[in-house]
Symmetry: C2
């Protein structure tokens, strides 16, 4: 009884659970500017491609087979696949698929991958409820806002402690978005957030295993079920997030409550979302970007390259200095392989990191011509490339910010190329093109049927 039962608790934290619930249900439809609206569509379309690409990966197959042991009803679709499962399982499985290649989106302030937990739940529930595309985008923007603002409040302490912040905030975004789709009032939405608050998902220790992509999928499922339970009168603490023993005080030692409340409904985290152009660690992206630029500007082919010298920050070689990778997974940690495929293919999607490509003779030959030099005057986010051609030219490019950064966002054409690379092998080019067009224009669709037909 003498034990200190309330660790570092702030008893006067503002009522953010109620605040977020009220925001989630009462903020007007499309109550944001064109930039947010555009980024929300890009977020959705990028997420769709990332879910379709690995939809037949062993990670998804294993999770689907486990779900099928429950003999689920056929309520909602799986992107890239013919099966239907119940809405909660569809949220789980699409969420797993979309993060399997670690190729999805990033809210750089928090390293949250925001679409996975929210879009997975919204699409599954939305298909079942037969919503309009407008409602999907509204719920997506609101859900991302809830997750990312909670993330802003606890980052970096919470992440440093070892939690995988995508899954430990994502269930709140999913709960908020699903509550909105279900038409819950603010009081029930507050309960949904409260039920979800008891179920944070994800440890960084799982990185490199199938449980990493489980985190956004699990969070999507938790949020959806929390909203359904709240709909039917299930209760939770009204202060589940901010109470001295509420989630945020329990799993983070520092919480900046203003990150949740200030400018809520006025400035938008969804506008800050970014997308990975290359299917590998972000520190190699500037070097690949430079290779693609050189290739395209000068019409280079593999046989034109005599030597490539890449100057990078020491961190790049520390993390990705593998000279002779022998399989796909290893090749993601090789700046040499990455530069070679950038020069040969003009891209570095998941296909360029397969075992087959890693061991292609032309890739092996070009990789051997790449030299990486540490130069700590060069920023981590930059790269300096000098390429000598076999006919004696010296070509140079300095990449200050790689494509895909906030400073140099991917164009829609580039996003589409990324989408095509993932979706074409699964859906075929015609359906993939239709799925892309509908996803990027989803708010104008009267319902989700045409999109889902194209994307499954």
């Amino acid at each position: 009884m003498a034990r200190n039962n309330t660790v570092k608790a702030d008893a006067h934290a503002p009522a953010v659970t109620a605040l977020l619930a009220n925001f989630a249900v009462n903020h007007p439809s499309r109550g944001w500017d064109d930039a947010v609206e555009r980024e929300a569509h890009r977020t959705f379309a990028n997420w769709v491609g990332c879910a379709i690409g690995p939809s037949h990966h062993e990670t998804v197959e294993a999770a689907l087979t486990a779900v099928q042991e429950l003999q689920p009803s056929a309520q909602a679709s799986l992107l890239g696949r013919p099966e239907k499962v119940d809405i909660a399982s569809a949220a789980l499985l699409n969420g797993i698929s979309s993060h399997t290649w670690d190729f999805d989106d990033t809210h750089l302030k928090t390293i949250i991958h925001p679409a996975g937990p929210v879009a997975s739940a919204v699409l599954a529930l939305g298909e079942h409820l037969n919503i309009a595309g407008r409602e999907l985008i509204d719920a997506l923007v609101i859900g991302i806002e809830v997750s990312c603002r909670v993330g802003n409040a606890i980052y970096p302490d919470h992440y440093d402690r070892g939690w995988h912040i995508t899954g430990t905030t994502g269930m709140l975004g999913s709960a908020a978005a699903c509550s909105r789709l279900l038409g819950l009032d603010a009081a029930r939405t507050q309960m949904a957030l409260g039920i979800a608050a008891s179920q944070p998902i994800g440890l960084r220790e799982q990185f490199g295993t199938m449980t990493k992509p489980f985190h956004p999928g699990g969070a999507a499922r938790v949020g959806l079920m929390s909203a359904l339970m709240a709909k039917h009168g299930y209760t939770a603490s009204q202060r589940a997030l901010e109470a001295p023993r509420g989630l945020l005080q329990v799993f983070s030692d520092k919480t900046d409550w203003r990150e949740i409340s200030e400018g809520l409904g006025e400035r938008w985290e969804a506008a800050l979302n970014t997308y990975k152009p290359f299917a590998c660690g972000i520190v190699i992206h500037p070097a690949i970007d430079g290779c693609v630029q050189l290739r395209n500007a000068h019409g280079l082919k593999a046989e034109d390259v005599a030597k490539l010298t890449v100057k990078v920050h020491s961190l790049v070689l520390e993390l990705t200095g593998k000279k002779t990778p022998t399989d796909g997974l290893q090749s993601k940690f090789s700046v040499y392989h990455s530069c070679a495929v950038g020069l040969i293919f003009g891209q570095a999607g998941e296909h360029e990191y397969t075992d087959e490509v890693v061991n292609r003779p032309d890739v092996l030959a070009l990789r051997a011509k790449v030299e990486a030099i540490v130069d700590d005057r060069i920023d981590e986010a930059a790269a300096d490339l000098t390429l000598h051609t076999t006919d004696g030219r010296e070509l140079h490019v300095f990449v200050e910010h790689a494509i895909g950064s906030v400073e140099k966002p991917m164009s829609n054409a580039q996003l589409r190329a990324k989408f095509t690379g993932q979706a074409d092998p699964v859906l075929g080019a015609d359906k993939a093109a239709l799925a892309w067009a509908l996803a990027l224009d989803i708010a104008q669709q009267p319902d989700l049927h045409a999109f889902i037909d194209a994307a499954t």
Copy 2:
């Protein structure tokens, strides 16, 4: 990059994930002494009654209605109810029901309610797999061991921090038990524990809401699904519990690893389980016990009581000093009401804490004759009662340890009376009697059919 990314991490923690997985699948069937075997059956039978009693409570109705939105298949039964749902949902719902009245079992070293997360999963999966009763008890003992040993390792720090330890360790016990039932090997069981480790459930902030009983149910569900995913090849960290960013180091600041390993398979936490005899806070139990003793020893009726004086530790009045409760929930925090029903009914089950009983004239009259006096020479776990009868006798009893404590365990007859009080109103007396007899002898049953028929 300069941030301290590994908070207080112990990089040399022993490999407890592998240890527990190996134990869970390789420990022999009934590899323990008679005392453990007996307590395991009492644990199961007590849990069954606790799940049947509130099986039509609004908490269970709300959760079931939400689950039914998924149109689940009819794989497994709900105790006390006619519906069947998929195995994961059955684990969830039976787990919720069994903790709804907060009347279930307690592992006093950790305040874990051990049966809920484990038995709920084992019964649901076991029904589906058509297991023998022997397998059910084996899985229950193993699962409780895993949960409670992990609890021992992190208690009290983890609990003090605000986590509801029943749900934040229970998913591991459930995963271990279900892995055993599924016949997984040690490597896959290690994966099941790892998948479950990313999904701890429960905040103490939820106490007093429906989300408290959600915690054991949710943990049961998580463990079952983690085992199913591992069965189909889903992977997780091999060191998901003990790694520097593994679960135990992330959500507890102090972990005593020896609590997990020492004597594993030799001494058993299931042998230490206790059962609540009264449906109220544990600090009033000695006073109620004294009232029941006086009533039974002297054949007292309400009209025989002139005055009751109860001397208790100050904590008792601090927590349960409500003099004039007006409804059932308030009455659980009233030593006065509790003594009155103990004297009148000889028990204090959920029925004695209903609105109806709280406002009965005889209860109100007797309650007014109860005086509670603080005497801090009396231990928190004790009570000293002096009763004056209307015919001038002075009766006295000193309760050093209340019934239901480790020192004075409930007899099987008392457990049966508790079961009857919960199950008879739901099942009828005949079916309830059969359910009790089969539960208390479940390891001798060739399958679970007869028990399930009686208990639903």
